[in-house]
């Protein structure tokens, strides 16, 4: 197993985001359907995107929605994306394993947790569904990550959400580390993968 030296800032847990986490920044870039409740005059170059009249439906990224949302004063009102509504929730409650979570929005769990900030009356149900879906799917993810050695796992991985993908990856790296230890490769001196990658790129840099 390679010694890890690069430790990126991990994504936040639950409703919290980590300020410096690249994953959380990309997550908060996802768009939500909202409805404007007031006007935004004099926006200049941004004017084309924000409508003049209140009550228009449009899509804004999560970071902007979180920033503009206020419980008392109505600036924007947030609608739930399709995946977190009643219809899809019953699908998830029935059998979460068949759903392609990557297609449903690659950050299903992350975005769902962030949606809880917007005081929707369905919050308890959304939270419950998120948790139950994760629990049900986790067994499969963990099983596959621990038993798929030297196989093509892309068909399985492409239906996973980002959080599940990260779990799968760490499971696989543990499995690979164990297998290489069993073969006695753990004590062999190997060049760090970082160093190898830099050497590889050097050759392509030289070529015009």
């Amino acid at each position: 197993m390679d010694t890890q030296s690069y430790f990126p800032v991990p994504p936040g847990v639950g409703m919290e985001e980590n300020f410096l986490s690249l994953d959380d920044i990309l997550l908060s870039h996802e768009r939500l359907p909202i409805r404007t409740e007031c006007t935004f005059p004099q926006l200049g170059f941004l004017e084309k995107s924000i409508p003049e009249s209140p009550g228009t439906k449009m899509e804004l990224p999560l970071w902007l929605t979180k920033g503009l949302y206020e419980r008392k004063r109505k600036v924007v009102s947030v609608e739930l994306p399709k995946v977190y509504k009643e219809g899809w929730r019953t699908v998830f409650n029935a059998d979460p394993n068949v759903v392609d979570l990557h297609k449903m929005g690659p950050y299903y769990y992350g975005l769902g947790s962030q949606m809880l900030h917007f005081d929707s009356p369905e919050n308890p149900e959304i939270a419950q569904t998120l948790l139950q879906t994760f629990i049900a799917r986790f067994r499969r993810t963990m099983d596959s990550s621990q038993n798929a050695y030297n196989e093509d796992t892309s068909a399985f991985v492409e239906r996973l959400d980002c959080l599940e993908k990260a779990l799968f990856r760490s499971g696989q790296s543990g499995l690979n580390g164990f297998q290489s230890w069993e073969k006695g490769q753990a004590s062999q001196l190997t060049a760090s993968s970082l160093v190898l990658n830099y050497r590889k790129r050097k050759i392509t840099d030289v070529q015009p």
Partner: protein, 212 residues
Amino acid sequence: MFCEKAIELIRELHRMSDGQLPAFNEDGLRQVLQEMEALYEQNQSDVNEAKSEGRAELIPSIKLRHCCLLRNQRCVTAYLYDRLLRIRALRWEYGSVLPANVRFHMCAEELQWFSQYKKSLASFMRSLGGDEGLDITQDMKPPKSLYIEVRCLKDHGEFEIDDGTVILLKKNSQVRTGCHSSSSTVLKTCEMFQVVMVTSPLSSALPAAVEM
């Protein structure tokens, strides 16, 4: 829409999830800072207008621009910080001399940060383990052998490790003992109090995970 350039910077780093350092995107950074300046100017004038003429309906626009400013700030900070984490990893994986093509990807401030980090690490390593210092960037994996040899520096008499074995610590005698965690941490403590000195197989780090 808004803050597109900033998210581009983040995506650039996210693409290389294994910790490689891409070239420093000076252009991108400059564009983000220009966007921030423009937003700030507009907000300043709007705030003055809202205060002086009492136009409260400008407030949502001001709030929106402020969110964009905060977002740009977040993206830029995360971009620079993640790059520093990668550069720090380079010191541990590569060593203190970086090849030219990697140095080329770093901006002047990052190079300066790297040399200062190197200095801090070196002075820390020098302060460990008595006179010679301890190179903790070597031997990052646990040792293969089960035993370590330890030489006594002082007479300590009988010493019982927590797995029950009693060792006799007499000055200049060599003792062979198990490498597993409990006895090694006990020996590490003894090393700190300069009772014993580890001689082999690794004269550097004992089998504990090296943390930065």
